[in-house]
Amino acid sequence: MMMIMSEKTKLDQQASSQEGEPNEQVPDWLALQLRRLNDQVMQETLPEDLLVLLKQIENNERNR
């Protein structure tokens, strides 16, 4: 399997392994996919319910 990692990632991984700590480094291709998945949701339009809720909070605060 092709495991693409940046040079820094490789160095960090080596250092981590030498210290006996968990090797938590994630290959670049997987990190990229995770970010894409996250970005996909972040780029969606906010649902109306949520905007209404925020407006209600704002109005309630102003009317206090």
Binding site: M1, K8, D12, Q25, P27, W29, Q40, M42, I57
Partner: protein
């Protein structure tokens, strides 16, 4: 602009990130939005407890996470999603390979234990530091690292050996056809 308006503006700006984290936790878009609504209400109610200048994003993520686990405790039986029907809804209609890959990744993510999934998402997708993720999950930094390692190994198993090659070829396509986002191509976990 008053402190109240500023607080609300900051919360509003973080809503997309909250929705993404909520969706990765529960795998269900509608339920995730309910979690975000609960989070906003709780954050507003407890806004005095938030210390100005500290990390609002981590604070909101912590609230959302608490809402999620609280809801799980109150549900006597968690509704299972063995076919990945809810999880599959995360991606829009698969009209090209990249979307198919994201759908597969999302289905695989939902097969991870929640503690591993949240650690991986917080650090690798959301961009929190290990320390911030440890604060959100209320565990030690080493625990976060261990969970990420296990999540990574399981995901690679689930996605299969071709996933890296396919992702790699799509990444090359991206650089030819789309503008590069700053920092987008780094692993974000170093």
């Amino acid at each position: 602009m008053g402190a109240t308006d500023r607080f609300l503006d900051q919360v509003t700006a973080l809503l997309p990130a909250l929705r993404a984290f909520g969706r990765s936790l529960c795998g269900d878009p509608a339920r995730a939005d309910d979690l975000v609504q609960d989070t906003v209400l709780k954050a507003w109610t407890n806004r005095e407890q938030f210390q100005s200048g500290s990390n609002l994003k981590a604070w909101l993520f912590t609230i959302l996470r608490n809402c999620y686990y609280s809801e799980l405790r109150h549900r006597k039986f968690e509704i299972e999603d063995p076919e990945g029907i809810c999880a599959g809804q995360m991606a829009v209609a698969p009209d090209h390979d990249a979307k198919l890959q994201l759908r597969d990744l999302n289905l695989a993510l939902q097969q991870l234990p929640t503690d591993q999934r949240e650690a991986l998402i917080l650090v690798c997708a959301t961009g929190l530091s290990y320390e911030e993720a440890a604060d959100v999950c209320q565990v030690a930094v080493g625990t976060i690292k261990s969970r990420i390692a296990r999540a990574r190994d399981r995901l690679v198993d689930l996605l299969g050996e071709d996933a890296a090659d396919e992702a790699g070829s799509l990444a090359i396509l991206d650089t030819r056809t789309a503008p590069t986002k700053q920092g987008f191509r780094s692993s974000g976990v170093s």
